[in-house]
């Protein structure tokens, strides 16, 4: 890898703030609303026994994926996490194939082999969720490296959360990307908890955005419950990346609306703080910025029927064939 010299001064990044079109607002609203409804329905399906294993809802964090994915193009890549449904949906996933996967059906994105924690979608350039916390950060960095080798004009948007930022691969990846000026955006979804461990207990310096400049890239902090802020920050980071100016770290502050996973009541969460965050619901904030209220209703109705259809589709879908599975096991 060659790098341009002299190294650019990596000052704290700034969000350029042109207005955001109604079209973009509606697009983001569709993603956020679909994610919200998807999570609620999946929680029902889980309780009815259609879903097993782990289910980590993205409730309360919808604006981050919705805003960030609206700022990149279909040809750009994303890397997701164990809390990944919102990333998938916002990148354009087919709800039918998502519900089917989470229900373990043959028609799912991963033929029922992956489940909630492992959805990937080649068609959407979604490189996949991950069960290993932090693993996506260097994988996304490597995808950006591949893009640079191929000389294709693409960007990688890597989602991960505060817990993952404790892993060594976080620092190593940021250093790597800055050293090689890779076209990657690190989207740190700071939801303030890694399972039950609060950020204040696992970081000596809780200003996570400041880790960007430390490694030689802009570090931007945005309100993760405001899709517009996330969109604008991602947009300028993507422009930077496409101009060959290298990576950006974005810290989007948010809060889970519940426990770590569906079976975690989250009693350790500060209920007052939680109530404050819930009062700043990302969907309400986004809705308040949209002029066409009728359009909102249309989107909501459309999402609801799409989701009903997806659930019907998944329920009608066959279980994967055991024989086919056995036949497909490679000899290595």
């Amino acid at each position: 890898m060659t790098k341009k010299s002299p190294k650019k001064n990596a000052a704290k990044g700034k969000v350029s703030s042109p207005g955001v079109s109604e079209k973009i607002l509606l697009k983001m609203y569709r993603s956020a609303y679909a994610t919200r409804q998807f999570e609620l329905k999946c929680m029902d399906l889980y309780r009815q026994g259609f879903i097993r294993g782990y289910l980590h809802p993205y409730l309360g964090e919808e604006a981050i994926a919705a805003g960030a994915c609206a700022a990149i193009r279909p040809e750009d890549f994303i890397v997701s996490t164990h809390r990944g449904h919102g990333h998938c949906i916002s990148k354009g996933a087919d709800l039918k194939l998502m519900v089917s996967e989470i229900m373990g059906r043959a028609t799912g994105y991963c033929k029922g082999r992956g489940g909630s924690m492992h959805i990937s979608s080649k068609e959407d350039n979604n490189l996949g969720a991950n069960g290993i916390v932090g693993a996506g950060i260097p994988i996304g960095t490597g995808a950006a490296m591949g893009i640079k080798v191929k000389k294709s004009k693409q960007v990688v948007l890597v989602f991960f959360s505060d817990g993952a930022a404790n892993q060594g691969v976080f620092g190593e990846s940021l250093n790597f990307a800055a050293a090689f000026e890779l076209p990657v955006i690190y989207m740190l979804e700071n939801n303030h908890y890694a399972v039950s461990t609060p950020v204040e207990c696992s970081f000596g310096n809780c200003d996570l955005a400041c880790k960007g400049p430390a490694y030689g890239m802009p570090g931007v902090c945005v309100d993760g419950n405001d899709a517009v802020e996330v969109y604008l920050a991602t947009k300028s980071a993507a422009e930077r990346a496409l101009n060959g100016e290298g990576p950006t770290l974005i810290e989007a502050k948010t809060y889970r609306h519940g426990g770590h996973h569906i079976n975690d009541p989250g009693l350790y969460m500060d209920q007052e703080v939680l109530a404050e965050w819930k009062a700043r619901d990302p969907l309400d904030i986004l809705r308040s910025k949209i002029k066409g209220k009728k359009k909102i209703q249309e989107i909501e109705a459309h999402v609801e029927s799409e989701l009903e259809e997806a659930i019907e589709f998944a329920k009608d879908s066959p279980q994967p064939s055991v024989d086919e599975f056995l036949d497909s096991i490679p000899n290595y």
Binding site: R52, G53, M117
Partner: protein, 323 residues
């Protein structure tokens, strides 16, 4: 005797050892107030405080290496890694550091640490949360490896592991935590390196460990009705390996099947089979065989997951085939 769950037996062992020896401390993710995902560390923080029950940042490689360092200055760290699948992150700490320090330093120092972790399939947690990776550690000289199947053994072996001066990998199975068994009220240890004949028999020996011990005992029960007498040897400790007990049983029955959940290829079964053949070939009535997990990542779907792991029927069939 009190009946308790496997996870309660582990919890009791931790309490007792931490009371007995102030140099014992434990660290891992969400093990404090939350008590760990499987509740093994429940209550510890109340008695021992956050200095000896440490909720670490999410950084397995660092806190496991940190345990090595802490052990070198005279403490006895216990590290909890939530899933054995994540022990690949601190592999350097285990393979290059903990396992070798005593050797490389000419015996000047030692690393008396325990890494407790949990593995196995069965809960729909898919490919990165369902593995059986014990063979990775089995292959490394300098590490001890323990995989108990009952509350009795879990308690006694955890005590041994904490008191032992060698780095020890202690692997629990997610389907064992809620299983119950008798545990004496007074303190006892189960020495490492001693297998346990969990059921005596004459016709066939099943050599196994961890959760598969329960499956082998079920199979033995079924086979008894068919007139086949099965001996079940629970290894309990994989390293050191109790070769004597395995060979004694092999010589007695003349027929051995090794049963483990881990993939067959490169699994511990192959090594044990070779050891039996090297030492007891003339006493065998046929080749040693294996019933193991399929050589595949574990899928999410329930039906697919089931076929990846040996069942009672698989074990019984294998026995019938050689008798």
């Amino acid at each position: 005797m009190a009946e308790m769950m496997y996870r309660e037996a582990l919890n009791r062992a931790l309490f007792e050892e931490m009371r007995r020896d102030p140099s014992v401390f434990i660290m891992g993710e969400n093990i404090g107030e939350r008590g760990g995902s499987y509740k093994v560390t429940e209550g510890l923080i109340k008695e021992f405080g956050p200095e000896r029950v440490i909720d670490t940042p999410l950084a397995e490689a660092t806190f496991t290496n940190a345990a090595v360092g802490a052990a070198l200055v005279g403490t006895r760290p216990i590290v909890e890694i939530l899933f054995v699948d994540f022990t690949t992150l601190p592999m350097d700490a285990l393979v290059n550091q903990a396992a070798k320090y005593k050797f490389m330093s000419g015996g000047q120092g030692q690393v008396p640490m325990v890494l407790r972790t949990q593995g196995g399939a069965g809960n729909g947690l898919a490919a990165q949360h369902s593995q059986s990776l014990e063979a990775l550690f089995y292959h490394i000289p300098g590490l001890k490896l323990v995989m108990p199947s009952t509350p009795y053994d879990a308690y006694g072996l955890l005590l041994s592991a904490i008191r032992d001066d060698a780095p020890t990998i202690f692997i629990e199975h997610k389907l064992l935590y809620m299983t119950k068994g008798e545990v004496p009220e007074e303190e006892y240890v189960v020495p490492m390196g001693e297998a346990d004949v969990k059921r005596e028999g004459e016709d066939v020996t099943l050599v196994t460990y961890s959760y598969m011990t329960l499956k082998c005992l079920e199979a033995a029960e079924l086979l008894e009705k068919e007139g086949i007498s099965v001996e079940v040897v629970d290894l309990r400790t994989l390293k050191p390996l109790d070769e004597e007990t395995i060979l004694e049983s092999a010589r007695k029955t003349g027929r051995v099947i090794i049963v483990h959940e881990a993939c067959k290829r490169g699994g511990i079964g192959g090594d044990i089979a070779a050891m039996i053949m090297e030492n007891a070939y003339d006493d065998l009535d046929g080749p040693v065989s294996r019933v193991c997990g399929l050589d595949t990542p574990v899928p999410y779907n329930l039906e697919l997951e089931k076929v990846c792991v040996p069942t009672v029927e698989d074990i019984a069939e294998a026995v019938i085939k050689i008798t």
